[in-house]
Symmetry: C2
Subunit: 243 residues, 2 copies
């Protein structure tokens, strides 16, 4: 309990650190920030959108780092309805708007990532296009199917939602797939098992980019007892596997 | 790890259980459901809205229970921007719409719950009005300040965000306030410490209404290792304190 309450104090502090007048909606080309685009569509899961969104947004309240500017991108500017039924207004449309530089692309899982979404050529083209230049491309849960279908995981090692691993292997037989890990980091790609554990893959990238102190502070702000050493993941470029 | 992955499988199953064509947006007067209104306003925190929203929404995928119909209510029909910057379209406006029967009212914390929101007479009147008839009134984090300011916690025991407990006691000296617990259940009121632990107060109500099996299934679907016996909370009507 003690830990939990220390975390919550940090959470409150985090909120109150918000710079006056700052609008998290600013989609900036300013190199001061990493521009982080969350690809949303009808059926996106609340927690797999908000968990990484919150972790990355809270980098704004840490000093002396290149923080993250988080925003949503959808096919059109029309509202998107999450799986649980919350209606969101996309910040940008990849068909209608001139997009800023996207440094990090996040693909949260959505209800139809195993079927109709994989036939959406315009969405897959957007993912393919951004993946050529983004510094990191991250999927949660079945979002890996979108990356695989777009062809951007060729030659990469990855993972997806545990219950869908066999379907993933069968549909994409040339991929190197890891099971029973929370996430796989292979070069510019991080694929996460997803669920409420989507926080972990996001905190991993925060620790990778900013160091353990910043990751610890943000984890505490989100009431998460974070210790990378306790997590099962694969980091391919270091040929490191933790199970 | 094994537990985590069992949980995730449940999560995936939960999603795939979604009845074809069902719209979670239906704001129904059908007694088949508990109508659960989430009071949102600018600055509402993503996780404190989506954590209880997801837990309650997932009751739809459990058999033979009076499930929950979750929806958002704001002052007007205009979009609301969360603290982290996601723009939401409220389902209903308490000033503009004829509201359905509200069985459960949830007040997630928002950025200005310690200052300007406490001067919003229309919002406080809405909370006061719904609290006269709702079966349960739930706050997370600083949402307790809204309930206290509305005067509905008179004679009730409650808690709030740990870092704000002293301020809460000072502003509302007549209230019986508990510290160092995740939540307090006093009759129709559940006040939660909030943060990412907002899941726990929500799961507590699910277990209270539907029993341990349903709470366990929903917790697993959200990748939470749920055991009420391990949680620090106060249930006043049973004079029960667990620390």
């Amino acid at each position: 309990m003690i830990l939990i309450f220390l975390f919550m104090v940090s959470s409150c502090d985090t909120a109150k650190d918000k710079p006056e007048g700052e609008s998290p909606r600013t989609v900036t080309l300013n190199a001061e920030y990493y521009n982080v685009a969350f690809l949303i569509m009808d059926g996106v899961y609340n927690t797999e959108l908000t968990a990484p969104f919150d972790i990355f947004h809270h980098t704004r309240f840490r000093d002396n780092i290149r923080a993250m500017n988080v925003f949503t991108v959808a096919k059109t500017s029309k509202p998107v309805t999450t799986f649980e039924g919350i209606r969101l207004i996309p910040d940008l449309s990849y068909l209608e708007d001139t997009l800023p530089r996207i440094d990090i692309l996040v693909v949260p899982s959505a209800e139809h990532h195993l079927n109709s979404d994989l036939e959406d050529r315009q969405m897959l083209n957007f993912v393919r296009q951004i993946s050529t230049s983004a510094e990191f491309i991250i999927s949660h849960c079945d979002g890996a199917f979108v990356l695989a279908e777009a062809g951007v995981l060729e030659g990469k090692e990855s993972t997806t939602f545990p219950a869908d691993i066999e379907l993933y292997k069968k549909r994409y037989p040339d991929l190197i797939v890891h099971d029973s890990v929370l996430f796989v980091h292979d070069g510019r790609f991080i694929t996460s098992a997803g669920g409420a554990k989507s926080f972990e893959a996001s905190l991993y990238l925060v620790e990778h980019l900013y160091g353990k102190k910043v990751a610890d502070e943000i984890a505490e702000g989100m009431v998460i007892n974070w210790d990378l050493q306790e997590i099962s993941y694969v980091r391919v470029d270091q040929k490191q596997e933790r199970n």
